[in-house]
């Protein structure tokens, strides 16, 4: 058994990945502590999947180092594999196998056999809600069930850490919530979870977050800390009629850091937003958008993210 050099779940130092002239991950450093749910947040193409693949030993970094569970990702990649579970972005169980056959296969690959396997299989089936459906072909399961099965296959061997790459993509909101409840339960049992996502509301569920944009680390910390540090200005939430016209009118004022549509609501962001309240009311009245409510609200992560991404763009 090779020795572990540290007790962090992940420690990355100046990790970089370059493809020809395109830099996918640019000198990213961060630490993931044991037992926490760590979120990697960013738009598509930001480098999230590249990062996960490097940590898992599927891709060699161009420069920089990292350890997962104390093992070096380049030199001790095979050590890491026994202790982690992985759910890829694309569904990667065998569609032509039944639920039980998939569990049997992955259990066997991880060396989970006999009595221990039967116990784990029972646990996983219960967790996924698939009891009684063992003989169904995997391809006949719908989205949410498949994700839970994939999660089940990843935890059969009771790994110390889970890597999930956009695990709830394309899954309905109720299944998503159920999925996160499972993740919480696992985290409480001591499993470290590294998850990438671009769903902001999911990001709120993480203990700590890292924002990635264009391969660079833009912010890191707990959701509250990030909101506190990174949010410039306040958010005014406006509920009015004819939101589209309202938005155009507000944008032409050229006063605000951000003017965005959130469903049927409008978020306007600026420092000291109260100062502009009167003028906003005037502009909206002129545009024929009857105001139903207008309140300063606590910024959501989405507001923060867009603000810091904007900031990143400008700098």
């Amino acid at each position: 058994m090779l020795a572990r050099v540290n007790n962090h779940a992940v420690e990355a130092v100046e990790l970089t990945k370059q493809f020809d002239r395109f830099t996918a991950v640019n000198r990213v450093s961060f630490t993931v502590r044991r037992g926490e749910i760590f979120g990697f947040l960013g738009p598509n193409g930001a480098g999230k999947t590249t990062m996960i693949r490097m940590l898992l030993g599927l891709l060699a970094p161009t420069s920089g180092q990292a350890t997962v569970l104390g093992f070096d990702i380049v030199r001790q990649a095979s050590e890491i594999r026994q202790h982690i579970g992985y759910m890829s972005q694309r569904f990667s169980l065998y569609n032509d196998l039944t639920v039980a056959e998939n569990l049997d296969f992955f259990g066997g690959i991880y060396g989970v056999k006999g009595k221990r396997f039967r116990e784990r299989e029972r646990y996983v089936l219960k967790m996924a809600g698939l009891q009684g459906r063992e003989r169904e072909l995997t391809k006949n399961l719908s989205g949410g069930w498949r994700q839970r099965l994939a999660l089940g296959c990843a935890i059969l061997h009771e790994p110390e850490m889970l890597f999930l790459d956009e695990p709830t993509a394309g899954v309905d909101p109720i299944s998503r919530r159920r999925f996160w409840e499972l993740l919480y339960a696992l985290s409480e049992e001591g499993c470290t979870i590294f998850v990438t996502t671009h769903y902001m509301d999911e990001a709120e569920h993480c203990h700590r977050l890292a924002f990635i944009q264009r391969g660079r680390l833009v912010a890191i910390g707990s959701p509250e800390a990030i909101k506190r540090e990174k949010m410039r200005g306040q958010v005014l939430e406006i509920d009015c009629a004819a939101p589209q016209q309202a938005i155009n009118a507000l944008r032409s004022m050229n006063l605000f850091d951000e003017t965005a549509l959130y469903g049927a609501l409008i978020h306007v962001v600026a420092e000291d937003i109260e100062v502009h309240r009167a003028r906003i009311e005037a502009v909206l009245r002129e545009a024929g958008a009857e105001i139903r409510s207008m309140d300063v609200i606590a910024p959501s992560l989405e507001d923060v993210f867009i603000a810091s991404v904007r900031g990143g763009d400008e700098s």
Partner: protein, 375 residues
């Protein structure tokens, strides 16, 4: 390690059984093809429609024609003019023609004058039939002690052939085409099946996205390769044995050499063919890609290795290139054991070559896979 290979093999088996398209194709396809070839060639070259122009109408000419009929190679019908012969051959109504000139008998009996000649025309478009037929014709005429001039119906191909007095065909006395074609077919099929299945095996995982999942598990590259190969080899080898049985018992192809020796060498040969199938698998991104590339390689191999045309008739450069294909050496060994009862002392050179090629191929495969993993 063995446990993981076992799990992988089971999974492959389940997937194969559930694949309703692939399984029957793999099992029945080669058998069907073999049956077709065997049936169509087991007749030998017989009863070629032959246009006969007897301008002599003598006892001698009739005797010659009777001798021709006796060979069963030619099925004569009579025509009146040369033009008819030309037309019939061009139309494909006749595949051969015999012309016995006027004065044939007279010249035959006159020992002091010119020797009589008979003209035999063969449709060279079917080279194999023409070759066989020409040998038979020579044999017939030889018994008459005449000098004959052979011409092929295709322009530019014909050249006068000296009379061979003693013609004896070795090892394939009946000159049964099947004894030549069927071993070729078997050898080719055995190679093709194993390689094609293998080439798709890993490509399928890559195409479905499950390969990435596998690479993150403790499974090692070697274990993955072995797990995939077990099924491919099992299928290919079973096919080979089935086809061998069919051919030896159903179509009377002789098995003059040692059966155990054949079985061992066949297995080793298949391992080698499996090797390049795996090499394709390592780089192909989809199953279709893998299958098409494998098919292409098989086609090339088949041309180079004397399956359709004898190696000796190809230009020297092509003959040299043919040596890199294990199939060529396997054919020699296979035919040797079947038809000549040959042992290792005869074909040890080919055996070593196959082993050497196998080593090269597998080294290449492993290197390729390692390079593909960490880019």
């Amino acid at each position: 390690m063995l446990y993981r290979i076992w799990k992988l093999t089971i999974k492959e088996l389940i997937q194969l059984v559930r694949d309703r398209l692939l399984a029957p194709f793999v099992l029945l396809g080669p058998l069907a093809e073999l049956l077709l070839i065997a049936w169509s060639t087991s007749q030998g070259i017989e009863h070629l429609p032959t246009a006969v122009l007897d301008l002599d109408r003598s006892a001698a000419s009739r005797g010659m024609i009777a001798a021709m009929i006796n060979t069963e190679t030619f099925a004569p019908y009579f025509v009146e003019t040369l033009d008819q012969i030309t037309e019939d051959i061009h139309r494909g109504r006749a595949l051969a023609a015999w012309i016995i000139p006027r004065g044939f008998e007279a010249r035959l009996l006159d020992a002091s004058g010119d020797s009589p000649s008979v003209q035999v025309i063969l449709d060279g478009a079917d080279a194999m039939a023409a070759q066989t037929a020409s040998e038979v014709a020579k044999g017939v005429v030889a018994s008459y002690g005449q000098q004959i001039v052979l011409q092929s119906a295709l322009p530019g191909v014909g050249n006068p052939v000296p009379l061979e007095m003693s013609l004896r065909v070795w090892f394939n006395e009946e000159m049964k085409e099947s004894n030549y074609m069927i071993p070729s077919e078997l050898g080719f099929l055995a190679a093709a099946i194993t390689a094609m299945i293998a080439s798709m095996a890993i490509a399928r995982e890559r195409e479905l996205g499950t390969l990435e999942q596998l690479m993150v598990t403790p499974i090692r590259t070697v274990e993955l390769v072995i797990g995939k190969s077990v099924i491919a080899i099992a299928l290919g080898y079973t096919e080979f044995l089935l086809m061998l049985g069919l051919v030896v018992w159903g179509f009377d192809v002789p098995l003059r050499g040692s059966l155990p020796l054949l079985m061992v060498i066949a297995f080793l040969y298949m391992l080698v063919e499996l090797g390049w199938g795996l090499m394709i698998s390592a780089v192909a991104r989809t199953q279709m890609q893998a299958l098409l590339v494998a098919l292409m390689v098989v086609m090339v191999m088949v041309v180079f290795c004397g399956y359709a045309f004898p190696v000796e008739t190809m230009p020297p450069l092509m003959q040299a290139i043919a040596n890199i294909f294990p199939l060529k050496h396997w054919m020699v060994i296979f035919r040797g054991i079947l038809l000549k009862g040959a042992g290792v002392d005869v074909f040890w050179r080919e055996l070593l070559t196959i082993a050497g090629l196998g080593a090269v191929i597998y080294t290449g495969t492993v290197l390729l896979m390692r390079r593909k993993q960490l880019e």
